[in-house]
Amino acid sequence: MNLPTFTRRRASADTAKTTATSSVTYDQHHEQSRAAQRHADIWLTIGTALMGTFVLGFIGLPIFLRGVWLQRQAQKAGLSVRPIMVTLIGYLVVLDAFLNSIGWILDLGASHTLITRVFFTAWGNFVDNGYFWHYNELWIGGSSAPGEKGWEVTLIFTVFPMRVAAAIAFLQMKRWGHQWLTVTCWFGVVIWVGYVVNMTMYADIRFDGTVLPVVGWWLYDIFYITPFLAIPYLHTVNREIFSD
């Protein structure tokens, strides 16, 4: 196909390749790499921020993908940019921490707002009765499911902020970012083991009367296991690529 959009893209990629491979000094190469990485990061950050809001996720995804594409182009052009895997894991962890935090902060602190009462109870009625059964009836409001508030407070105030900080440093290729991301991804294992056992212990409350019991909850929540999918990578990557 020779559609103008495609040829323009190809042309710009070719130009980038020529610029990068033609003889440049180390400083110029460094500067070009920095600029290319920054350009891609702007798209990646905006895309992740939009996806982190839940409702604007469908706008955020294409913006994020454009960021990935820009970074790939820079890599192909020979510039020294961050490895794609580091980019994907870093932004995915930020997104996971944001999605978890925003949902649970709404349940904890804004449980009587119209948006929470509508969305949470509708979602609860569909897949998780913990967000429907006696909703807003305890002294703090929000979900009344046994154990739920303990998880909310613990994770919002400990592991999620740690995880965002670690992921940002990881994206900056800092050594402490790699170390702390490993720590918080292991914490993801703790979260999943604890939370799923809690769900199973109180399964009669969580699933009784829901539209799609068990399968619905797993379909929705399985995507949150992504942080600990990164554990094998974090333990086998060459640590020397992260600087002090």
Binding site: V189, W192, V193, V196, V197, M199, T200, A203, D204, F207, D208, G209, T210, P213, V214, V215, W218, I225, F228, I231, P232, H235, T236
Partner: protein, 39 residues
Amino acid sequence: MNEQDRKRKRALIVFQIVIYGFLLTMFLIQMNMYMNRDW
């Protein structure tokens, strides 16, 4: 790949089998309850 790397990879494979096995077990327990209860 040296001995340490080999051991590390083996440990990570064991870890993944254990953790996904655990999640699958919990899912199957819930499915079993789903089939036996009037949810």
